[in-house]
């Protein structure tokens, strides 16, 4: 099982009955796998803040609840997190933070263990799929015993690695009775002051629990090297230094002071191995212990067992062993990179091609359309975080009047529902002039095709109310709104020019389903070799089905979906639908 499948199973075995989240790699498959357990009400919420609020409500209502998101998603959910840390829970509440060291699919590699320390809640970290499953039940018990939400922190290598898992019979879900208690759940200052005292007291109790928790253990080996570690790094350390002594921390906060001191006494050289920040190391140092960590290890990217072995062996003076582990030199030849691309037939492609032609300044957002920033389209100026596009464009316009009339924001349907609406309200309310392009491909695509409130279906594929984007933007005060087919390049260009020139804010909805969720009905395209002059204008579309032959263009019919964009771009009628005339 992958770590994500295991977490889903763990939720089922532990009697969770409510689960909410927002798609985000590497967390997405948790909810997608929870769906199979009919005892759990699982849902995609529009964003992570709402998801955590739903989870908190479920917990207060007496159920065990689980909320999932990637690391940056916790930034969105941070507001409820910090206050639920004060209110505490009724049924157990887990917040799964799937971090991404190495940024395989993220805009940063923030270390979310700090949220535990900051919000004063415990952090639990599994190191493989078996623990990913087992720790869910343990963490929920901690949540209920200590009256606290618990952060369940994973990294990509745990979420997306597969290892053997032994299963258990699921326990019957228990619904705790709800008792009205405003002093606990209504955080006006008078009550919040009382709860802070409870929170501080709770941390002391949790630190005491950590000393004897099954989550933490010392594995005594040789005396020379002692490593404090957790998460996937535990597996790397066991691989790299099988003879070393290891203090395995399954709970990264709060830390067991007694256990750490006992471990430090038993080894000659103490190390902390953790990816990203010196979260554990700082706390060990604060105990007055001599320890190696970020003095020898980087804060950037992922580790490997060889790297860990090399750094540690070098530090203790085992020179030759360390050199043996140094990475072999590369074959020398530079190999072209292979960046991800928009699929053949992607409805976003023509939009960015047009924006580049218009020399627009583009505030972008997060989704498949972020690929519009890469060569050859290169039609994006900024991308910061979910929903940032609209506010960013407004800010640029306010900073420099030259941006008026040239600046657009580009946002997808799911991202718009997530956190674009408030940006749009700001644009109208504070009298900006910008044009907002909503790329509506009827799905949350980049994370693997999930539903959202604008698609009309739920996580479990049940039909549901579908948000009417036109009515929604009109209700926000937009009077200029048009719906355009992104495959009609002439129309796209004309509408964009018109709306960008208009002295009031406008929305253009470019609507066509994602190429991967519809069957390609268009005939493939082929090159009319006589007409092709080799101008290669069509190559500028950046379609993987189009490549340069010796002098003319070649179309890969296995990839081509017949979307017809290249036909519209060619001035020489050199691209035609197979078996027919060019359009």
């Amino acid at each position: 099982m992958s770590g994500n499948e295991a977490i889903a199973r763990g939720a089922y075995e532990a009697g969770v009955t409510v689960a909410a989240g927002y798609p985000g790699t590497p967390s997405t498959e948790i909810l997608e796998n929870i769906v199979q357990y009919t005892s759990i009400k699982a849902q995609w919420s529009p964003n992570e803040k709402v998801a955590l609020e739903v989870g908190a409500g479920a917990s207060i209502g007496g159920a065990r609840a689980l909320v999932t998101m990637k690391h940056v998603g916790v930034n969105v959910a941070a507001d409820p997190l910090f206050t639920v840390a004060y209110t505490g829970v009724n049924g157990g509440l887990l917040l799964i933070s799937a971090d991404d060291p190495g940024m395989h699919s993220s805009q940063n590699e923030q270390d979310n263990r700090y949220y535990g320390k900051f919000a004063k809640v415990p952090v639990v970290e599994p190191s493989d799929s078996q623990e990913a499953k087992d720790f869910v039940g343990i963490a929920l018990q901690i949540s209920e015993d200590f009256d606290t939400p618990v952060i369940f922190r994973t990294t990509t290598r745990v979420n997306h690695s597969q290892s053997l898992v032994g299963l258990k019979e699921p326990q019957t879900p228990v619904l705790k009775p709800y008792v009205k208690n405003p002093q606990k759940y209504v955080m006006v200052p008078a009550y919040a002051r009382l709860r802070h005292v409870v929170v501080e007291d709770r941390l002391v109790k949790l630190a005491r629990y950590a000393e004897t928790s099954p989550l933490n253990r010392i594995e005594w080996g040789g005396k020379k090297i002692g490593v404090i570690t957790g998460g996937i790094c535990y597996q790397y350390v066991k691989e790299a230094l099988p003879e070393a002594s290891v203090l395995k921390l399954g709970m990264s906060f709060p830390l067991p002071e007694g256990l750490i001191r006992e471990f430090a006494r038993g080894v000659d050289n103490l190390f902390v191995v953790e990816e990203l920040e010196p979260f554990l190391e700082e706390q060990v140092r604060a105990l007055g212990l001599k320890v190696h960590g970020k003095d020898i290890f980087t804060r950037i990217g992922e580790y490997t067992p060889n790297l860990i072995a090399q750094k540690i062996l070098l530090t203790i003076g085992a020179q030759e062993k360390a050199e043996y582990l140094a990475s072999p030199a590369n074959s020398g030849e530079p190999v072209p990179v292979r960046p991800p691309v928009m699929c053949p037939g992607c409805p976003h492609r023509g939009v960015f091609y047009t924006l580049k032609q218009l020399k627009a300044v583009v505030a972008g957002d997060i989704g498949c359309y972020t690929l519009g920033s890469l060569a050859p389209l290169e039609a994006m100026d900024t991308t910061i975080c979910m929903g940032a596009s609209i506010g960013t464009a407004l800010g640029m316009e306010k900073a420099n009047p030259e941006f008026k009339g040239r600046t657009v924001s580009v946002i997808g349907d799911s991202t718009f529902m997530h956190s674009g609406i408030t940006g749009l309200v700001d644009l109208v309310y504070n009298q900006g002039q910008g044009t907002v392009l909503i790329l509506d491909n009827s799905i949350t695509a980049m994370t693997g095709h999930q539903h959202n409130p604008a698609t009309g279906k739920t996580l479990s594929e049940q039909p549901s109310y579908q948000v009417d984007l036109v009515k929604l933007v009109q209700a926000c005060g937009i009077s200029r709104v048009q719906v355009v087919d992104p495959f009609e390049l002439k129309q796209v260009k004309a509408v964009l020019q018109e709306e960008m020139a208009a002295p009031e804010p406008s929305v253009v909805i470019l609507r066509r389903p994602c190429a991967l969720i519809v069957k390609a009905t268009g005939e493939s395209v082929e090159t009319n070799q006589e007409n092709c002059t080799g101008c290669f204008q069509c190559i500028k579309l950046g379609c993987p089905a189009i490549s340069k032959g010796e002098k003319t263009v070649m179309i890969n019919s296995a990839l081509c979906t017949g979307c017809g964009l290249c036909l519209q771009v060619c001035k020489f009628s050199a691209l035609v639908k197979v078996g027919g005339k060019g359009e």
């Binding site: 790699t25 590497p26 395989h104 699919s105 493989d128 990509t156 290598r157 997306h160 690695s161 597969q162 290892s163 053997l164 996937i232 597996q235 790397y236 066991k238 691989e239 790299a240 099988p242 490997t304 067992p305 060889n306 990475s327 072999p328 590369n330 074959s331 030849e333 190999v335 072209p336 990179v337 292979r338 960046p339 991800p340 691309v341 928009m342 699929c343 498949c368 690929l371 890469l374 060569a375 050859p376 980049m446 693997g448 991967l516 190559i539 500028k540 950046g542 993987p544 189009i546 490549s547 340069k548 296995a558």
Partner: protein
Amino acid sequence: MSKVTNILLVGVGGQGTILASKILAQVALDSGYEVKMSEVHGMAQRGGSVVTQLRLGEQVNSPLVQQGEADIILAFEQLEALRWLPFLKKDGIMIVNTQVIEPMPVIIGAARYPEGIIEKLQAQRERVIAVDALTEAKNAGNAKASNVVLIGVLAKKTGIDHELWQKALEAKVPQKLIEVNRQAFAAGYALG
């Protein structure tokens, strides 16, 4: 430390590397090994470079294969074979599909697709087997089954019981496509 076999499957998003690795993992499990597998999903459909890492042995800790430690690399595309070559042991086996899929920087003329890749691979490693899996798959009935052709070649090389491979195929491949895949597997097995 117990002996661990390290296998990398490398290719381009959309080529079916993940299905191939699932078949391989199933066979390893049925053979009684502990198996750990690592994959990076992000590029699974967006035409980026994808790699699945498989480790099998009596006891496996890290799910990652390190540079210079792969016993076998199954490469679904030539450029990816070249990219991941440094991970192959000096005496490791590389099975490479001769298919070429140009990455976007090459398509737009910003980079050149290296020439003579198969020769370059064979110059650096003794055991490189080039397979035209695409043609074999087309002959078997479906171009998309080239991943299973490569699995067939690998199956022959590992010497693991043919039966176990058949069983894994049945378990992992959609029922309506099973015949095509059986033929693709057989074609690869014959070449191995």
